[in-house]
């Protein structure tokens, strides 16, 4: 019995899923002043309906972190960076950092040590700050400098919290890790207050169920772990929507999903039953971060998109919304009115929709003719966005000859349509693109269902350098000796699996199916001899949904 909660901009939704079936749903207006109030209303309602509080898991998708940033409920962070030589990233950071000496090179070798005197000076400058972030270039190749600075900070100032760059992401990209670490520290206090409030409210109700927090990549984190990585809880709305689609429409066919709402259409590409991930991390408050998420493209076209004639007499659709459709009492013509007149949907008042189309018809044009033109234009806009996303996929940079020859195109075969306006538009889009489509039975709380069944995920990057004789796992802060025997890529992947299991255990999640996200192996040559290898293996617990079989958490 899984309980999922999705705190949206308007409503807080809840759903209980048992063996893959939705057995109970609840909905209440989001209480923006205190999100927990709405959350508890939904939980109480669901307990009442179910007559039980024996949930195996409660998973939360919330806007708590986004709100903290928007409302400025953030701490002043003492940001210390160890950039060494290279590009000056200071202008691309949200705050001015204190720059420390020290450098780790691309092989993970310490080229210069940090200095305690500088850390002391930084503390004087960051007087009164209680949270810190420390980020060093190539710290994922060797966390020792970050660890040394953290140790000094603790000894000198005992701050409430320190986020380490190498702890927030295992992948290369110093700039993104630094920003992730900064935002993580900035929202740490606010999120922890929320987490404490959630825990005490549940305890008061005698609910002993473990609580999980949804992440932007569709995975979940135990609340206790999320306390250290609160920034992971940002942007979970689109993720829970995509998971909702995954839960309701298991399909292995290359697909694209269209979530057509009132104002926008969200497009995702699917392969082997899972949506594609974005190559880069998300942007937070305009700054690039290392936060992973699904690759979504959003276009300003939905059922409520405003339809009008431009001063030149051209029929224009969207992207602005001026209110609801005239068919349901709105003031301006919309795409929905066109769908009603074209008899694609039965919605609101037909006569009022006809009036809407009359407003944009030219002389001699029937309302059906103009409605068809409106829908044509709406479909043009959505198809252009789809084609742009497919082209972007085809233009995805690759670094091997074989991948260039094979190509990265996805030949999509079907469209999955969800959202309020999918029923009218998706058949037309599918026809235009020559694809099949399915519009699953609408679930009113799809996002909450997505949260309910989101599988816990975790990933690690193991990098082994047999010349230097050690390997690192940034997410675990590990730098260990390699065994003296011959060590090959398969060994690296095996070792990564061992550490992934260890990390999963630390985080209180059981290991489901894992997959290698990326692996590469290079010979290191000195003169004309191979002296060793550099191997990278990135392994993850497959994101996805918990099935109806008894699957562990």
């Amino acid at each position: 019995m899984f309980l999922g909660l999705d705190v949206g901009g308007t409503f807080t939704d809840g759903a209980v899923v048992v063996n893959g079936e939705v057995v109970s749903v609840a909905k209440t207006p989001t209480t923006h002043d205190n999100l927990l109030v709405g959350i508890l209303v939904v939980i109480d309602q669901l307990i009442k309906e179910m007559g039980s509080k024996e949930f195996s898991r409660i998973a939360l998708s919330t806007t708590i972190v986004t709100n903290a940033l928007v409302e400025g409920k953030v701490d002043q962070v003492g940001l210390l960076i160890i950039p060494g030589p290279g590009m000056d990233i200071q202008a691309a950071l949200p705050v001015e950092p204190y720059v420390l000496s020290g450098y780790i090179d691309h092989r993970g070798q310490v080229m210069a040590e940090p200095s305690l005197a500088e850390v002391r000076a930084a503390l004087r400058q960051f007087d009164e700050r209680a949270v810190f972030a420390v980020s060093g270039k190539f710290s994922v190749r060797n966390p020792s400098l970050e660890l040394a600075v953290v140790k000094w900070l603790q000894e000198q100032a005992s701050p409430d919290h320190i986020t380490m760059g190498s702890g927030v992401a295992g992948a290369l990209n110093f700039l993104r890790r630094t920003n992730s670490a900064y935002y993580n520290a900035a929202v740490w206090r606010h999120f922890n207050r929320f987490a404490t409030a959630v825990e005490s409210a549940l305890t008061k109700r005698d609910i002993r169920t473990p609580v999980y927090i949804l992440k932007a990549d569709g995975g979940t984190l135990p609340l206790g772990v999320a306390r250290n990585y609160p920034v992971e809880a940002i942007f979970t709305g689109p993720a829970s929507s995509v998971l909702g689609i995954m839960a309701m429409n298991p399909t292995k066919i290359p697909s694209l999903s269209l979530d057509i709402g009132g104002t926008t259409t969200d497009i995702a590409l699917w392969q082997n039953g899972v949506p594609l991930f974005a190559e880069d991390g998300a942007k937070v408050a305009g700054f690039v971060t290392a936060l992973r998420g699904f690759r979504l493209s959003s276009v300003g076209l939905g059922g409520d998109s405003f339809v009008r004639r431009t001063p030149e007499g051209v029929l224009a659709v969207g992207p602005m919304r001026m209110g609801p459709a005239m068919a349901v009492g709105g003031k301006y013509p919309t795409v929905t009115d066109a769908m009603v007149v074209a008899q694609l949907i039965d919605y609101g008042n037909y006569e009022l929709a006809v009036k809407a189309m009359e407003q944009v018809a030219t002389q001699g044009q029937t309302v059906v003719e103009v409605a068809d033109l409106v829908l044509d234009e709406a479909i043009n806009i959505i198809c252009a966005a789809i084609n742009q996303m497919l082209a972007q996929q085809a233009n995805q940079p690759v670094y091997c000859v074989e991948d260039m020859i094979r190509g990265t195109e996805i030949s999509v075969e079907q469209i999955i349509g969800v959202g309020g306006s999918a029923g009218g538009l998706v058949p037309l889009i599918a026809k235009r693109m020559g694809l099949t489509y399915q519009i699953p039975v609408q679930e009113k709380v799809a996002n909450a269902i997505g949260a309910a069944v989101a599988r816990p995920t975790v990933d690690i990057t193991l990098r082994a350098d047999t010349v230097a004789g050690y390997y690192t796992v940034a997410e675990l802060g590990i730098k260990n000796q390699l065994p003296s025997r011959k060590f090959v890529l398969a060994d690296a992947c095996e070792l990564a699996a061992k550490h992934l299991a260890e990390l999963a255990l630390n985080r209180g999640i059981s290991l489901g199916a894992t997959e290698v996200v990326q692996s590469e192996e290079f010979n290191v040559i000195r003169g004309f001899n191979t002296v060793g290898k550099i191997m990278t293996c990135r392994l993850q617990v497959k994101p996805g949904v918990l099935g109806n079989r008894k699957e562990g958490l």
Binding site: P83, G84, P85, G86, M87, D88, I89, A92, Y103, D105, H106, R107, M111, A112, K137, F138, L172, N173, F174, L175, R176, D280, V288, N395, Q396, P397, V398, Y399, C400, V401, E402, M404, I405, E520, F522, N523, V524, I525, F528, N529, T530, I534
Partner: protein, 440 residues
Amino acid sequence: MMDAQKLGLVFFPAFDWAISPSHPEREERLLYTRDQIVEEGLLDMPNIREYKPKLATYRDMERVHIGVPDLASLINNAHLVSAGGALAAADAVMRREVKRAFALVRPPGHHAMRVVHGTRGFCAINIEAIMVEYLRKVYGVRKVAIVDTDVHHGDGTQDVFYHDAETLFISFHQDGRTLYPGTGFTDEMGSPMALGTTMNIPLPPGTTDDGLHQVLDHLIMPVLADFKPDIIINSAGQDNHYSDPLANMAITAQGYARLADKLKADIAVLEGGYSIEDALPYVNVGIILGMAGLDYSKVVEPDIKKCPTQSGEVTRYIKNLITERQGMWAMREGLKRDAVAKAGDFWQRTRNIYYDERGINEQQTEKVRLCPKCGGYLTIGTEANGPGVGYKSAFIAIISREACSHCRQMAIDTVHRAKTQNDFQHYFVQNKYEDILEKI
């Protein structure tokens, strides 16, 4: 709207291609550069945009090359991608999506000559030359300047444009008396109709940033300003670096970054550079920042103390070399007139060309028709011998882009006449006027 300084970066490290497992041109070459670029966050800069290469077509490649017996048997897919990477860089600039572009791709190309019998100096096809002819055919670019900043003389590029007065080829490199390929001396200046548009600047071993920037400020930049090219291409080899294992120069990442910043090439294409751990990550970051108009002052090698200083002797040598080259450039019109008058209707040279990869020896005779009305035509007789390839020969006529009808006919007749004499195995007409390579 285009950012005033936006840089297109075509990055293609060819992680699955090597000449042989321990060859300098191996899978690992750009690994550390990739790590550095990604770790710095360069691809996240709003004024840097990454592009995927396209695949070059045989039509693109045969606008420059004649492969004997054919190009397809001498190259592989990796070459289609690296040449296509240079073309993608050209497209990005010419479509005005970016201000400049850098094709950070491999395999390299600047030792590949017009006629191809195999791989020489790690190069099978000349990716810059293919790009230049593409720029002309697709975008109508005319005057092109190529500045080759690789430590080795760009003998392939020089060969392709030796008779082309609309292409200025400037190469500075470690003196050919001390380094492969052993050419690139000051007296190689172009054939009579193009005299002066090949400029070699052989530098002594031990040249540092100081010497290089003297050459740049007092020779290369003024010559470029004088030539007024429509576009500037940089063959951006990185093996002048003090840590390069194959050469003996003393340029730093700062020296390269400042060069990129001053040169302001429209398109740069990677060439050599084999200090893959100690130089390339820093040099490439420096060049990218320099081309993107970003601050590169903090790009410094961790082992910068190992960089030698320039000797007084080298400084004096470079000063004299600059003076001599300036003089040649000033007198080039007169030199050209004299050379054309001396040559008469035809100019001819015979050379031996060595393909180090498999030990192929080629003997080549070029004969240029100096037409007063047009770009004329060129014939090449080539014979190659080598282990594994045996004997290969071909006779080729190359019709220039703007050849007059008389020259076009003469070129075709010459090939047919040669074929009846049957001295060669293969016969080609590379017809740039009609943009086709025909096997006769």
